[in-house]
Symmetry: C2
């Protein structure tokens, strides 16, 4: 692609020129302060942080971000459900980089608020169609053989749900922020189930949460045995309370609601339970009045996080476009970018490991000449699946659902650099 | 290896038996509450966290660990230097898992306290033997092409330094906790240097910090061009203040003192500066009175973090031995474990990616029969380098130094499960 109208792929020589000008505009090192530029007192004068001793290590036994970053937080939307009975907030994906979501900024979705559990008093029971019902303490889990670490994305099935009927929320934090990607430490669920001995007619697993919602879902035994984890660690330390401390289920690639937090029980049965959260909720009502049953896998999806409505373009010239992509079917293999609403595409650069069922990071360095852009990204996974447009999804599923919208997002970049959520009609 | 005296590699059938007994001892699911066991009220009674609504999402815009984890913090040692002029604390590596260190727990070493810098007022200057001195704002750096993400370990040259003269500090947090391993987001230093144009006689780079210590070191241009980063991101978000916010130098595999924090200047010269921190400090004084010059690379090293003096064995039967390994020369290829003070060795399981110049995680599942153990780990990197014993190091370097001790550590596990830092004589 080479779209000379609405932004161009970065030309190396042009970038160098742009950066040179930027340097001159900013002035000025000691070496060049005698030239035409004004000396920059931020360089020529000793600053306070250079003049005075700072705090020693005893100030912060557990560290936190700089006060200058305090605007970077999980945010909720007033008109969405934010009661304690049903609350949700969103990861500030436009302020993050790389592939791992900081634990303090990983979005939350609670159905009964945050359970505060003393790990010494927590128990995990396995019962139902097993040879030997078992109860594990947290100490038991940490003594189990075969502990592993894996990075997986968790996406709420309702992520981008408000966009089914058209562009609504003006910021990727709100349209796409019900996702995080963290390292889990835990025991394969298979190890625990093998310990209990699943009977031959045991075909389904029902995880149950210890919070006040008592969350339950039905998981086929094949998935449970394949790659699910009983996780007690997250990004190197213990799970956070809002992510299920002391232990949660990890169901790689599948919708977040199944990753039961504060996990207290695993029941084995011979058929699914058809719990509330897999019938009246988390199913897609089609145009003809029927619903899709068991829509577990989160299909390939991507979003440009910068620029975006919360992160406008500030200057012409060199700019970095970046975003994230993920697939519940495998690893992200490629992300394409359009700057003209999907007419022309060019392949972005993936950087950082692109692991199966984990988030990938893409970059596209470009020069902006001040023209309007219609930015889109399109993810492809290693099964060959290509992220569809919203129109393609609507043709198949109608617009009744608030779940499983993995359509291509469009950002309109205006001449002043401001960005807006729009749809291509 | 099969040491029947001092611990055994896990036998799968024996583990199953042990876990079954543990389950029975704990009792008791609803299904088996009618058997001989006592019902466990933590299962049969409704707990508070199941009875009452928890906090909603608005409670924690930026999350933090559970109150039950509040003992897991960076710690200092009273008799080591902890003035604001020179302070250090240690990562609680015995409480962590996986390969990534949480940002809030990454050890700190300051020479002038923590600089608190407004990023809008920060400047990075490149001067000296360059065609075009340049000044970058943080915005400039974030607009540069070629942004990348890499996980690298940072180890202080003085890590394990107190152990040169014998076992002293009783806990791996204190003997080996001057290390962290995080994801960095930034721009290759080469990109910035190419922008300025290094003159043909420019052979060395001097990074300078904006803190009150004005830290300076000398880095050969080959290393600067090879893999150094100018990093503004850490574990997905902005650098933390104590790690150099808003920007630090990353010098992969080399001693931590060179990774200048609060980076404000890069001077290019034709010879090293022989700054304080590479002459009177951070050099190894040998037995004959001479010093090793420029000991930059951190050689392969490993430590068993569990069990360790701060994390004793609590029960006989199944236990998980785990630890970390790293090398400044490449990726960790293998870690061997001894339970009998280095007489017999068996290979541990590496889990999680083992990336070049990044920390690796190893596990060794074993049964403990209550006998004394002398636990050691021995790392090998992909150059073939093997971690030496402390005695081997002392034979070459004497015992004057407090730097670059990568010798094999020994933990004595007593019959009651308590663990002590010892040396094999």
């Amino acid at each position: 692609m080479r779209d000379t109208e609405k932004g161009e792929p970065l030309d190396r020589r042009r970038f160098l020129r742009a950066a040179g000008l930027a340097g001159a505009g900013l002035a000025a090192s000691a070496k060049i302060a005698n030239a035409q530029q004004q000396p920059d007192p931020l360089i020529t004068e000793v600053q306070d942080w250079n003049r005075y001793l700072g705090d020693g290590v005893q100030a912060r036994p557990y560290g936190s971000p700089s006060p200058f970053e305090k605007h970077i937080v999980r945010r909720d939307v007033e008109w969405l459900t934010v009661s304690r009975e049903s609350s949700v907030n969103f990861t500030p994906i436009h302020e993050l980089d790389g592939i791992i979501t900081p634990s303090g900024l990983a979005f939350e979705r609670h159905h009964g608020g945050i359970a505060e559990i003393d790990p010494a008093k927590h128990r995990l029971m396995i019962n139902g169609l097993v040879d030997k019902p078992l109860v594990f303490t947290m100490e038991d889990l940490k003594r189990m053989p075969g502990r592993i670490n894996r990075a997986y994305f968790l996406e709420c099935a309702a992520n981008s749900g408000m966009e089914w009927r058209g562009a609504q929320l003006n910021g990727c934090q709100f349209t796409h922020g019900m996702i995080h990607n963290v390292w889990y430490t835990g025991i394969p669920l298979k190890t625990l189930l093998d310990e209990a001995g699943v009977k031959t007619n045991g075909k389904w697993v029902m995880p149950e949460g210890a919070d006040s919602s008592g969350m339950t879902r039905s998981i086929p035994i094949e998935k449970a045995m394949k790659d699910c984890l009983v996780a007690f660690g997250m990004n190197g330390e213990a799970l956070r309370p809002e992510q299920g401390y002391p232990v949660r289920l990890v169901v790689p690639g599948w919708e977040g609601n199944m990753w039961v937090k504060w996990l207290r029980r695993l029941e084995i049965g011979d058929q699914p339970w058809h719990a509330r959260e897999e019938t009246s909720k988390y199913t897609d009502l089609l145009a003809d009045g029927r619903s899709r049953r068991f829509t577990w896998i989160m299909d390939a999806k991507s979003i440009v996080t910068n620029p975006s409505p919360q992160a406008p373009l500030k200057r012409k010239g060199a700019n970095v476009l970046t975003g994230i992509a993920w697939s519940g079917r495998g690893a992200i293999q490629r992300v394409d970018i359009s700057l003209d609403g999907g007419r022309n595409w060019t392949t972005a650069r993936l950087d950082g490991p692109s692991m199966p069922l984990s988030m990938a990071r893409f970059y596209f360095d470009f020069d902006w000449n001040g023209r309007e852009l219609m930015i889109q990204s399109r993810a492809m996974d290693d099964t060959g699946y290509v992220q569809p447009t919203k129109q393609e999804l609507r043709q198949v599923r109608g617009v009744n659902s608030i779940y499983h919208n993995n359509g291509i997002q469009t950002w309109l970049v205006r001449g002043d650099g401001e960005v807006e959520n729009v749809e291509i009609s």
